[in-house]
Amino acid sequence: MAVDKMEYDKMLKKASPNSKAYINIPMAFIIGGLICVLGQFLMTSYEKMGISTYFSGTVTSITLIFLSALLTGLNLYDNIAKHGGAGTLVPITGFANAVVAPALEFKAEGLILGLGAKLFTIAGPVIVYGVTASVIYGLIIYIFKLV
């Protein structure tokens, strides 16, 4: 008996388990939260070391990016992200991981066609649409200030 696409879609939805949101969401909150706590700890420490509030934020970001890149290189970041999900994806550490991971993977194809060309395969869209959004945002502010 032939099954049509609509009917199969129903069967398939019934057979396919959903992601466990009741685990994933709290885990994202905890692990993402811990990354933010670490960021806050670093920022406060840098301020105490005499770095101005303005620059301590930048230095904190650089430290988190370094740590993420290091953990990616040590094959650890993906193991944390497996549990952290959005909690490891959203902070700046996720962005660093998305750049370092292809760098490691595609270095086999050389520095130009491999690493150079593939470095932003995952992070590229974030940059493109991030920059586009910021231009639109800037224009809106500019226009409102004119009025």
Partner: protein, 338 residues
């Protein structure tokens, strides 16, 4: 000579023998329930090579070499080799096999390649156009991830329906040795597509193809599911297996008693974090060549319908939002020649 029974099914009247078979797997597969049955478990997933693509080539070459030597043959005794893998342009195969200097027929059937290559090899032997042929396929988790999904170290979450590409390879040598396991019949499936677009649910994409091929084999040969000790699907995993049983039930065919799936056998689903099960050409190839053929040879299993399944998408077709076509081919492997 072979007998064409229908558009799909060919009976191999001389019942070619699987004279020898070999399987090599990676560390994770070696830690699975079938670990002790493989010829070799390599704890180093690079297989001593500098890139994942070369690792897969090495894996495939080593496996087919092992199968040829187990048949007490050398590569020059093999008239044709039927082989393929998952990588673009089948480079896992072509670079792996180039040194063997065996007339080569490249196949792409995604994860159905083991059944496809055994079918072709069996037909060649049955019709006396070759004396010895080999069939081999492989997959490697790392090269497949790189091509089809994300870089290995990228931190992402898998969905519960996703499957784990096996680092594994299986190879057979087919000739007229007149000893079990025998290849009795093959059913070539057609491309089936019921509109599944989720690349993380390939079991669901392939189940309709397995349904078609199994149904066709039974209808063509007049056999019933209970005529087989085992109906072994390729790598449908948990979701695909459930859908297959459902689809066949609608036709009044009940395979619940004697069905198993290579994707469910290769790993311990509770312990090994593979979600819905294993996949990849090497999954069904290694389960067949590592575990099942031994049982057929020893008569523990008398008749097995091996139905390897493949998902025929590419990263480009997935990005373009196309649905995933599936394919399945069935091989009747038996302990008896008639």
């Amino acid at each position: 000579m072979s007998l064409r029974l229908s558009q799909n099914t060919i009976i191999l009247n001389t019942s070619p023998s699987i004279a020898s078979y070999a399987s090599i797997v990676g560390k994770k597969e070696g830690e699975g329930p079938l670990g002790k049955h493989f010829d070799l478990v390599n704890d180093d997933n690079t297989f001593g090579e500098s890139t994942w693509e070369k690792s897969e080539s090495r894996l495939q070459k080593d496996t087919v070499s092992k199968a040829i030597s187990k048949a007490n043959l050398v590569p020059s005794d093999i008239d044709f080799i039927f082989a393929g893998d998952l990588l673009n342009q089948c480079i896992g195969t072509t670079f792996g096999l180039r040194e063997l200097e065996i007339p080569f027929i490249g196949l792409y059937g995604a994860c159905s390649t083991m059944a496809e290559s055994i079918a072709m090899g069996g037909i060649f032997i049955d019709n006396d156009v070759a004396i010895n042929v080999a069939a081999v396929t492989s997959s490697h988790f790392c090269s497949a991830e790189k091509q089809f999904r994300f870089p290995l170290e990228y931190g992402g979450q898998r969905t519960p329906t996703s499957q784990w590409t096996a680092t594994a390879s299986g190879a057979v040598v087919i000739n007229k040795k007149n000893a079990p396991p025998f290849i009795r019949a093959v059913t070539i499936g057609k491309i089936m597509d019921l509109g599944v677009v989720d690349v993380n649910n390939m079991g669901a994409a392939m189940a309709p193809a397995a349904h078609y091929t199994i149904g066709q084999h039974l209808a063509d040969t007049g056999k019933r599911p209970e005529d087989f000790d085992l109906i072994l699907t390729g790598d449908l995993g948990q979701v695909g297996s459930e859908l297959l049983i459902d689809l066949l039930n609608r036709d009044g065919i009940d395979i619940t008693e004697n069905h198993n799936d290579c994707g469910l056998m290769l790993y311990d689903l509770d312990e090994q974090d593979v979600h819905a099960g294993g996949s990849g050409c090497g999954c069904s190839a290694s389960v067949l060549c590592g575990y099942i053929l031994d049982q057929v040879k020893d008569g523990i299993l008398s008749d097995v319908l091996f139905v390897a399944t493949g998902a025929l998408m590419s990263p480009t077709s997935v990005d373009q939002g196309e649905s995933i076509p599936g394919i399945a081919h069935a091989i009747h492997i038996s302990n008896k020649s008639e």
